[in-house]
């Protein structure tokens, strides 16, 4: 019997596909068929996802043949060098430690005034321009892009170039050659940028990483990962968060009345959407018993993170959006040694954006129906391509 196809699009923009929930509620993980025809185990209970992501018998190495992919045509093995995301022990630990000090809670908190300034400037510009406007271009994308550019030392003037490449890369419908070309273009851009930094050191993350890398190409990989992951995911969460809060006016009112609730609201949005759930796929290096299933060496595993983040065993009324829940045991940033490096930056950016946007533009509203919004059903990271909003003159 062939395993059922993995559903990769959300039929309701605010919920995991019903098929994922059904898979989660089975007695044990079961196999699904991936878009390329290969089978993989679907793991969707929170406890099982946590066990999977902390078990060193599962590999993050995307070049292993059993590793599950979301696209119809597998990337050629050896196309990319290992980066943090794809490394296993013993290489992963030292590579992560070489950079994680740049992302400590204290270092992120020190960025608060600058992020606040960036957010304020973009809201000024939004208010000075015509309504309706596309919030993705006005706020969601530029804020995290500018922040990560300043941290890494990438000229923000080039943002159109790398945002365009990033969108093409993440769209599952982009033909494989075009996806590879977009990635190559960013790599080549970063290679030149790192050469400039070697000649003219600056006070930025990439310059500080230079002496840690024997092979410059490995640093190109890290820069690539940080640049793409650093803006794309947060941008999507800003847009989704704005839609969701506008769609729950009572909860938005509670948030405006009690700004101390904002961190909890951000956690709830992260849990509710789990936009990067397919980033935590794994492949078994040996036979492993997981949640009642025997996963054989070489088998791929996909995590249905959004369903896991609504698992009734871990979250009461998990399908409800509740800004006061504030639960932080979700796996929106993954779990285990690969958990998102930039999560505390993302939290800070989201908190500042939601705090500032609704306070400064209380009349903010959607200029399109929620059902008409172009949700990223075809991307490997969920989000919204365009978000028309309008407001009344203050």
């Amino acid at each position: 019997m062939t395993a059922p196809q993995l559903q990769t699009t959300r039929s309701c923009p605010f919920a995991p596909p019903p098929e994922h929930v059904q898979l989660r509620d089975l007695e044990a993980p079961t196999k699904v068929t991936m878009p390329d025809g290969q089978e993989a185990w679907a793991v969707a209970r929170l406890e099982d996802v946590r066990a999977l992501l902390t078990d060193p018998r599962f590999s993050s190495d995307r070049s292993r043949p059993g590793f599950p992919v979301l696209v119809k045509q597998r990337p050629k093995p050896g196309m990319f060098r290992p980066v943090l995301l794809t490394m296993d022990p013993p290489e992963h630990g030292p590579a992560r430690r070489a950079v994680v000090g740049e992302f400590t809670v204290r270092r992120m908190e020190a960025l608060r005034p600058r992020i606040q300034q960036i957010v304020d400037e973009h809201i000024d510009a939004l208010l000075a321009g015509p309504a309706p406007a596309d919030l993705v271009q006005a706020l969601s994308l530029p804020v995290p892009s500018l922040v990560i550019c300043e941290m890494l030392g990438v000229p923000y003037a080039d943002h159109d170039f790398f945002q365009n490449c990033s969108t093409q890369m993440l769209r599952r419908t982009t033909p494989p050659e075009q996806r590879a070309k977009a990635a190559d273009e960013i790599r080549s851009y970063l290679r030149d940028l790192l050469a400039q930094k070697r000649a003219h050191p600056a006070d930025d993350l990439l310059t500080r990483q230079l002496p840690r890398y024997d092979d410059p190409e490995d640093l190109v990989g890290l820069a690539f990962l940080l640049l793409i992951a650093g803006h794309e995911t947060t941008a999507n969460m800003i847009s989704l968060g704005v839609v969701t809060l506008l769609d729950h006016p009572d909860q938005l009112a509670a948030l405006l009345a009690h700004p101390a609730l904002t961190p909890a609201a951000v956690e709830e949005l992260l849990r509710y959407f789990t936009i990067a759930e397919f980033a935590t796929s794994r492949v078994a290096k040996e036979d492993v018993e997981l949640g009642g299933a025997l996963i054989k060496a070489g088998d791929g595993v996909v995590t249905l993170g959004n369903a896991a983040n609504r698992d009734p065993a871990a979250f009461a009324r998990g399908d409800e959006f509740d800004v006061e829940r504030g639960a932080r045991h979700h796996i929106a940033f993954g779990f285990g040694p690969h958990q998102c490096l930039g999560q505390n930056l993302a939290r800070l950016e989201l908190q500042i954006v939601f705090d500032t946007l609704f306070r400064r533009i209380p009349s903010l509203r959607l200029a399109a129906g929620v059902d008409d919004l172009p949700f990223k059903d075809d991307a490997s990271i969920y989000g919204i391509y365009e978000l028309p909003v309008t407001w009344s003159a203050p």
Binding site: G101, F103, Q339
Partner: protein, 66 residues
């Protein structure tokens, strides 16, 4: 007395413990590794925060010893 134990060889510097209880945990500047500032939770609330930090620690580097 309950004591918080941190295994820095497992720690991956995610900072989740610091977010949970900044009075009990910190991160070193270079590698972001956990530093336990207050290894003995002083009251029930501090103990609950320590339990929570151990639960959400992505590398399961924290444990509580009775």
């Amino acid at each position: 007395m309950t004591k918080i134990l941190a295994d820095t060889s497992r720690c991956v510097g995610a900072g989740q413990c610091v977010l949970t209880d900044p009075d009990a945990f910190d991160q070193d500047e270079d590698e972001g590794l956990v530093i336990v500032l207050a290894p003995e939770p002083s009251d029930e609330a501090a103990l609950e925060r320590a339990r929570r930090a151990a639960l959400i620690c992505p590398s399961q580097a924290l444990s509580l010893a009775e």
